[in-house]
């Protein structure tokens, strides 16, 4: 009896939630942790960087096309003689904010549509999935260009444009998770307990459907940053703010003469998206119970 009690108290100490277990698993993944650290540094840099390095990215501080290191300008200057380091630091904020908020917009649209389709099935599912397919076959870049061209190149509009063209994957993942989970007995048990449909959808099924959605969302932040860079490169951006893509876009004519003006912001995008992808992969492993050592 005594034995059993001590055994049980040890067992109780291990009491951990599924999310705590996932974090344990995530911590063991070195690549993902490296990605998380890089991402953390970039985020902190984008928040506090402009305070530490207050040079205005629009100021013409020195002669154009001064190579990196010259005259104390670490990344050199661009075709207008603007400090490239200041531009990269100040641009980080815009790139990250647009990447994050566009991902949030598309997750919101995608989860809502996928959840409704997967939960109610029938004609609601038919309609919503046809809509999803419609958005899926639209040429995304062209469609977002049309939106930005029509409604003006403000940051909000760019965010919405990116969100609107990239929610389809989330909707499909959410729907398939809902289709699977809604048939499980614990959902039936909640139904038998008189839980309302809204609560079933967002309180019972969604938390259990989250792992693949989280993974997809992490990757979507990366692709939204790339998308914003693409739009900026084509000149569809707010000319009064700096973003990494906009730096590349405005310097692209001089890519042969001063390649660093394009390479440096390019590396910034690459490192950020890579870090996000590593974190996304880590999440994928950590949240996948099949890979979790039991």
């Amino acid at each position: 009896m005594m034995d059993r009690k001590t055994e049980n108290s040890e067992y109780l100490e291990q009491a951990s939630s599924p999310s705590a277990e996932a974090w344990e698993m995530f911590k063991r993944n070195h690549a993902a942790m490296a990605g998380l650290v890089i991402l953390f540094v970039i985020t902190i840099g984008s928040i506090f960087g402009p305070l530490i390095y207050p040079t205005d990215p629009f100021d013409m501080v020195w002669a154009p096309f001064s190579p990196p290191g010259e005259e104390g300008y670490l990344f050199g200057t661009d075709y207008l003689g603007r400090d490239l380091l200041a531009m990269v630091i100040h641009g980080a904020r815009v790139s990250l904010v647009i990447g994050l908020s566009a991902a949030i917009v598309s997750i919101f649209i995608g989860v809502t549509i996928g959840a409704l389709a997967g939960f109610y099935r029938g004609y609601i599912e038919e309609i919503l999935m046809r809509v999803t397919e419609f958005f899926q076959v639209l040429p995304t870049l062209l469609f977002s260009m049309v939106i930005v061209a029509l409604f003006g190149a403000s940051l909000t509009m760019i965010t919405i444009a990116i969100g609107i063209v990239s929610w389809t994957a989330v909707a499909r993942i959410t729907r398939s998770e809902f289709l699977r989970i809604r048939e499980l007995e614990y959902v039936m048990a909640s139904r038998a307990s008189g839980v309302s449909n809204t609560k079933l959808m967002f309180g019972i099924i969604l938390p259990n459907a989250l792992p693949p959605i989280i993974v997809q969302s992490a990757l979507m932040v990366g692709s939204a940053i790339l998308f914003e860079a693409g739009l900026s490169f084509l000149g569809l951006t707010d000319p009064n703010v700096v973003s990494w893509g906009q730096i590349i876009g405005s310097n692209r004519q001089y890519i042969l003469d001063a390649s660093y003006t394009v390479t440096i912001p390019g590396i910034a995008i690459f490192v950020t998206v890579l870090a996000i992808s590593l974190v996304g992969d880590g999440l994928n492993d950590a949240l996948n119970p099949k890979l979790r050592a039991r």
Partner: protein, 328 residues
């Protein structure tokens, strides 16, 4: 008056039907459906246990889900305390759920992996009652006591429990709203034999203490014999025999029931495997669309008549109902 109350059945199921539409082919206009439950009727008296037995695919679970309104029935009546559950909508239905709860087959998939044990047990209270926090907490504590779980385990997640403990949680959840009827859908078949016995005894004790009525679904005839006062045997969506326990196990009448009882492996008697195999070898779905008796092609007594006309359930002796042309 008191006697009336006792004798009146708690649950009356009449002509319950559940059909699943099979997806119609794009080239054919014809719509077809599978009759999973094809007009079954039975009563359960207050405080008794009715066993629903049959092989896999006979419609037991479908019938139970339809009774609990977890699946839409195509027709019939399910009267609980003289209220037809099938007619209830929204709020009335939610309120009716307090009186009817469900224990699920699989203790692993029937508990939400993201909720703590106490949240799982409290869920029906949270959504169906307006008790205050203190009272809910007290009910949960009492339930943990009565199903034999320790209070320190309240904060644990389902995966930290063993199969038997998980089923105890499922039972506690089902009892939280103080129901009158509990539907046990294969409640012990996922557990090993020693744990099965514990859970069955727990269910029996709870029945004695709380005056519960069980609809007990199982394919394990040994368990049914242990638990049930009367037994309904289903075959392909129809009731083929309905009798009290003694009559059914000592003098089964329907050829299907006899086959089913013979198919139970016994320790002391060598099972005549070939005989059972001969009778059970043919696929049960082959003849699902014939008009006659569904058991026709597997039945040792079958006659040409059986193929043409479906037998009605008839009372052969008091309280013993059989659906077979050859028995009357």
């Amino acid at each position: 008056m008191q006697a009336d109350e006792q004798d009146r059945p708690l649950l009356k199921v009449r002509n319950l039907r559940v059909e699943f539409a099979t997806k119609s082919n794009i080239f054919s206009r014809q719509k077809s459906s599978v009759k999973a439950v094809d007009g079954i009727s039975f009563d359960i008296k207050r405080g008794e246990t009715l066993g629903l037995v049959g092989e896999s695919g006979s419609g037991k679970t479908t019938a139970a889900l339809a009774i609990a309104r977890l699946l839409e029935a195509s027709g019939g009546e399910v009267n609980l305390n003289n209220v037809d559950l099938l007619q209830l909508e929204r709020e009335d239905l939610r309120q009716a759920r307090t009186k009817l709860q469900f224990i699920f087959q699989d203790p692993y998939s029937s508990l939400n992996p993201r909720k703590r044990a106490e949240e799982i047990v409290r869920e029906p209270l949270d959504s169906l009652t307006d008790f205050d926090q203190v009272k809910r907490q007290k009910i949960v504590d009492n339930l943990f006591d009565s199903v034999g779980l320790r209070h320190e385990q309240k904060k644990l997640f389902p995966h930290q429990f063993s199969g038997g403990q998980r089923q105890r949680l499922g039972i506690a959840r089902a009892l939280s709203t103080n129901p009158e009827l509990v539907i046990c859908d294969e409640a012990v078949s996922a557990l090993d034999v020693a744990v099965q016995a514990q859970i069955l005894n727990l269910l029996k004790d709870l029945q004695a203490n709380l005056g519960l009525t069980y609809l007990f679904i199982s394919h394990d005839l040994g368990v049914v014999k242990h638990m049930c006062d009367s037994v309904v045997v289903m075959y392909m969506g129809k009731v083929v025999e309905h009798a009290n326990r003694e009559q059914l196990f000592s003098a089964p009448k329907h050829p299907y029931t006899k086959t089913l009882l013979n198919a139970v492996p016994k320790l002391d008697v060598a099972l005549d495997v070939t005989e059972v195999q001969n009778q059970m070898s043919k696929s049960a779905t082959e003849n699902s669309f014939v008009n006659g008796c569904k058991f026709f092609d597997r039945c040792p007594l079958s006659q040409p008549k059986c193929k043409e006309v479906a037998p009605e359930l008839g009372e052969t002796q008091t309280g013993h109902w059989v659906a077979c042309h050859m028995i009357s």
